[in-house]
């Protein structure tokens, strides 16, 4: 049985970047990896494919081609790339799209055919309906990771995902593997995410610092692992990969109620704002009389 994990995170938080780098790093470690993008934007795997997009599972539905041989495309280092795809913005039902795409892959034995060691689902993190919770239902992923920054809304999305995990946990759904802190610029941001995980009985598996290397590589259409393999950032992703592959932890988090989350966050946001003001205004420097 392959290890199946799902990575959730609020849109724009760096979830696909993290996932693709994780896939690339795992592949470098010698594992056979399949990455399945579950987002109607279908841009999860582009940095594994030199910036080129691939036909999606739902394209085959759209074109009624019935061509199931054209769903899996090889990317960096032989990684199997799949994009679920979805409707045009503002049309149809993207959630049902995710369900249909996963069912189509499942019912036709497409994943089994490639028998990868690890399957990674890269999923839109705002679990807005049943469709986006599909990968954490019984029989799909068994371990969930969530990517977050120290932004309140990103943490809010994580908290919602925790609620989704609780809902499906009684029926054999996926359990939490850990939280990945992303775009970290200061230790205070780390502290905030750490505090959130402590209060929700979860763990940070890795902090990924914000780095211009990542942005540059993305502009070149490649992952950091491929574009800057000797960089410090690449090493961070490799470390994440080693932790993920060795992580056997699967547990139930205890999410905040919405009101409690807002109360908890307000204290931290004030500190972060103060910190930033100190940085910008250089108050410490002035106060020290230099």
């Amino acid at each position: 049985m392959p290890k199946q994990i799902a990575i959730y995170g609020k849109g724009g938080i760096g979830k696909s970047t993290t996932t693709s780098n994780l896939s690339a790093a795992l592949s470098d470690l010698g594992y056979s990896v399949m990455q399945i993008g579950c987002d109607p934007k279908n841009d999860s795997t582009t940095t594994l494919r030199k910036g080129k997009s691939i036909p999606t599972v739902l394209d085959t539905v759209r074109q009624r081609s019935g061509d199931l041989d054209n769903l899996v495309h090889e990317g960096y280092n032989g990684i199997y790339c799949v994009e679920a795809g979805g409707p045009e913005p503002g049309v149809g039902c993207a959630g049902r799209g995710i369900i249909a795409a996963i069912e189509l892959l499942d019912n036709n034995g497409i994943i089994d055919e490639y028998s990868p060691d690890i399957i990674i689902y890269d999923v839109l993190g705002d679990v807005v309906c049943g469709g986006f919770a599909m990968p954490i239902r019984k029989g799909i992923a068994d371990q969930v990771y969530t990517v977050t920054s120290s932004d309140y809304m990103a943490i809010y999305a994580v908290n919602n995902l925790f609620k989704g995990i609780l809902k499906y946990s009684n029926n054999g759904g996926a359990l939490l593997g850990g939280v990945i802190g992303n775009s970290i610029k200061s230790s205070l941001q780390e502290d905030m995410i750490k505090d959130f995980t402590e209060r929700t009985n979860s763990d940070v598996i890795q902090f990924v610092p914000r780095s211009p290397t990542v942005t540059r590589c993305e502009l070149d259409g490649v992952t950091t692992i491929e574009g800057a393999p000797d960089s410090r950032q690449a090493e961070v992703y490799r470390e994440l990969a080693r932790k993920v592959i060795n992580n056997k932890d699967k547990y139930l988090p205890t999410p905040f109620d919405n009101d409690d989350l807002a109360d908890w966050a307000s204290g931290w946001i004030n500190q972060l704002l103060l910190n930033r003001k100190v940085e910008i205004d250089n108050i410490q420097e002035e106060a020290s009389g230099i």
């Binding site: 759209r62 979805g86 409707p87 149809g92 039902c93 049902r96 799209g97």
Partner: protein, 456 residues
Amino acid sequence: MSSKNTIENQSGIDTGINKFEKESVEAPRYSCALAGVYGTTLGIRGGIPILHSGAGCGVGQLFGTLYAGGESAGGNEGGTSTPCSCLVEEHVILGGEEKLRNLIESTIEIANDELFVVTSGCVPSLIGDDVDQVVDEFRDQAAIIHVNAPGFKANSSEGYNLFWDAIIDQLLPDEYLESEEKTVNIFGVVPYNHVYWKGDLLTIKTLLESIGIKTNIIFTEKNGLDHIKKIPQAEYNIVVNPWLGVRAVEKLEEKYGTPFIKFPNVPVGAKQTAEFLRIVGEKLSIPSETVENYIAEKEDWYYRLMEYPGDAIILVRPNSFYAVAAESSYAIAFTKFLANELGYLPDIIQITDNPPIEVREEIIREIRDNLDTVVQPDIIFEADTYKIRKNLENRPFLFLFSSSIEAPTSIEDYNALHIPISYPIYNRSVLAKHYSGYDGGLTVVEDVVSGFVGPL
């Protein structure tokens, strides 16, 4: 009261679904909103439904609406001939607008009809197809409206209201037309769901025209679209239902200033019919002599005929208890008729069309305040067939007026004779038969007496 009767989900949000509807599970006495719009459209001669839904939504109405409405097929526009976008998963995910566009285009080209009623079911409403925009593209080619009627939103009775909302908002002109004196439109008789709609509407028309009122019953008459276009010209709108069609006449009053007269029910028998004619006659300034002469003439005929079954009633089944399970309008009409004209005793009245909470008090009052008997019935709002049957157990009634669902076992279960008056009726072919008016009252008596006389 409303908070008590609405369901709150776990997050504390009022879902708008009342408890009564949520708990109805077994053989409800109505279909869904889409079905109500569908049946209503088929009631218009020259009206054609275009269903934007899964294929089953239309085919299901063969048994769910058409055959259930007194074994009436859907004609050229209904049943398996119904234009339907037959949405499948592809359209759920990617949207179904293009398929609908093609369907409307071909329907307008092929069908020899005048009024095109695009009806959105659950799928397009869930995924958010912009059906209004698609329908807008065809407004200069045909009389076309869009009724957003997802089945989960409401029942088939409410579908009748949604149909009229769409007609009034989208098809009828904004400007005021000079009203024509002594003309009325009739609302509140729902095609198929009010199973005796064809005969009842014709009877109301005949009654009113007998006292000099031009009556637009809209349904069943040829050139249906012309009848719809004439709606704004009426001097008065008449609604014969405590809640169905009420929103339509209120809207028409707001839009054209047309006042309306509201009756809680279709008039059944001499007493209700005379009251109906007097009220309408007075509002429309018909000379009272005209009205009274007509009433006197009809009553003379009516009460002579009523004497014929007199022996059978008095000798065999005098002052019998009866039970009614029917939609609001007929439940009120039959309860009053049987008590006030036959001297029968109301035992239990079950209202099956799930009227909104606000009008339930009014329905109860209408029944309680208008019975010439000391016996007060239990009045229950219930649409679940299992519960309706449970409510009928261990009671004294000898006659059961309800849907055909109770017909086969009425004697066995309740020792009561059964008369089918309410949706669904699968055991009668209902064409011109009706219970409204003078002759309709006599028909009730025929049906009651025929149950216990004979067999040879």
